[in-house]
């Protein structure tokens, strides 16, 4: 089993996909840090005062934005943002957007599992090196490891790049960043488990991509629909919220925002259940 993981560490760095995944990750970090806006892609202002931890300046910032307008050059927008959002913990906010990494994780599952099935090379491994059970466990281990490596690479690069480019006043501090990343760890592992299972279920890369790419939207829509249905039946808004909070995107966001102990514990249970459920299904396909 160890040899299979070792062989994947030999092969995967030779894949072009790895370079693409790294570029995507660095682009997300780079744009987020340069524009001082988590998410890194959108130029629109979507900062909620409660999220940034600098409520009093956010309103002023919104006004200034209306004055400067989004037509200003990127450097102008950046300077305005820096001026009015001092104390904005950008690194914490970027961690809230870690659902973006899901798309990077897809690359890992494709490189580790789907390519093996698509090329048919899986039969070489199964016929001469290992059993199906150990093959599944090896691939699961590799995908989880790969996702964790990318997750921490993203965290460290983002933290230090933010420190260098924007300075201390835009950072929550190394300890906080590490605490948040540790809290988000089960979500990353659950996503890795889900993607690995999907790769085993779909087998071919094209089918896997078709399923995995829109999965986050589908999950969000389904949970939203479920919440509305259940919420309507029960007649409370509270139920709707509690359901929705255990969707991956929400978990990333809320776990980065000083969550309660109960919420963290529930997130861990949800992640563990999802990991076990999907891995069991993936193994048995």
């Amino acid at each position: 089993m160890f040899n299979i993981i070792k062989s994947d560490f030999y092969r995967v760095p030779k894949c072009k996909n790895l370079i693409i995944a790294l570029i995507i990750m660095l682009l997300l970090i780079g744009t987020s840090i340069y524009l001082i806006e988590a998410g890194g892609i959108s130029m629109s202002v979507s900062i909620e005062p409660s999220d940034v931890g600098a409520g009093e300046v956010a309103e002023e910032y919104e006004n200034e934005y209306q004055y400067t307008g989004v037509n200003g050059s990127m450097s102008e927008i950046r300077e305005t943002t820096k001026k009015y959002l001092k104390g904005y913990e950008l690194d914490r906010d970027i961690l809230r957007w870690n659902i973006n990494l899901y798309y990077v994780f897809i690359f890992i599952a494709v490189m580790a599992v789907s390519s093996d099935f698509s090329n048919g090379s899986v039969k070489n491994t199964l016929s001469s090196a290992i059993s199906k059970r150990k093959y599944f466990i090896s691939k699961l281990s590799f995908v989880v490891m790969g996702c964790l490596i990318f997750f921490y690479l993203n965290t460290f690069i983002m933290y230090f790049a933010n420190l260098i480019v924007n300075g201390k006043e835009f950072s929550a501090g190394f300890r906080t960043v590490m605490e948040i990343s540790l809290m988000q760890l089960p979500v990353v592992i659950a996503l890795a488990g889900i993607l690995n299972a999907l790769a085993f279920i779909c087998r071919k890369t094209a089918i896997f991509n078709t399923v995995a790419i829109p999965l986050v939207f589908i999950a969000q829509m389904s949970i939203d629909l479920l919440c509305r249905l259940v919420g309507k039946n029960v007649g409370t808004v509270k139920t709707e919220n509690s359901f929705a909070n255990y969707e991956a995107d929400r978990m990333f966001r809320l776990l980065a925002n000083n969550p309660t102990g109960i919420y963290v514990a529930r997130c861990y249970i949800v992640c563990f259940a999802a990991f076990i459920l999907f891995s069991t299904v993936g193994y048995n396909v």
């Binding site: 040899n3 299979i4 070792k6 062989s7 030999y10 092969r11 030779k14 894949c15 072009k16 390519s115 090329n119 048919g120 090379s121 039969k123 070489n124 491994t125 199964l126 016929s127 001469s128 090196a129 290992i130 059993s131 199906k132 150990k134």
Partner: protein, 307 residues
Amino acid sequence: MEDIVLKTDKLTKKYGKFTALDSADIVIRRGSIYGLIGRNGAGKTTLMKMIAGLSDKTDGSFELFGRPDAELENVKKRIGCLIENPAFFPNMTAYQNLRYYAIQKGIVDRELINNALKTVKLDDNAGKKFKSFSLGMKQRLGIAFAIMDNPDFVILDEPINGLDPIGISEMRDTIKRLNEEEGVTFLISSHILSELYSVAESFCIIEKSKIIKQFTKEELDAECGKCIEIQTDDSSKAVWVIENVLHSSDYKVIDKNRLKLYDHLEDSFSVNRIMIENGINVYGIVEKGLTLEDYFITLVEEVQHDV
């Protein structure tokens, strides 16, 4: 102790209601080359896949190196396989592909990779990407993969597919050399029966998911190898002459007017003369010999006729 490499006992594979292989019983002895013959979809690859651990059996069992199929993982490192088309990572070179599998198999000695590439004459193309390989080169890389770690038992499914005549000849020599010099046991399937005949010692014909015949090369030669076919007015009288005058029991009566004699093959003129001297009317006497292909077709037709 390990004289028998593979022994299957009523090995069966079903996909829903479709039976891909029905109660297959074969025995492969150590150091032999065993040929699997059958039409497309007959069940050859299914049998190979089950032995290689790529497919689960539905019923029956098999033993590999004396170990039951439940312990297949323990003996997997002793087998090398090339089943269906050779599949490797297109963006990796031939060497990198083999190195990847060498790591999986726990092979430390990289020289084994170079030796395998040399054996299949791919050492000059070791640095070329798999996607740029011709079909023949891909096939040879597949064989290099199968023999890389000096296995005791090699399973090759259509190994000469896509090879040019020189490649086929080289492949035949390689298989024979590995078998004779290193005692490697082979299970080979091929549609090119003349090639299979030239390397294999035992054969198994599968038709419609069932094993219809197993025989050795000697048995095949005896049954459909060279013979003298005698056309006469009375086979029973001719039999008396063969037994009492020619002193041979190596014959087969086909019908009341035809029989085959497997002796005196070089002297059909004398056989004809003796028959006539003993009052037998000989209408025709010809030297005949079925090839493996003819034999296979005959058997398959018999099965179809029975059904």
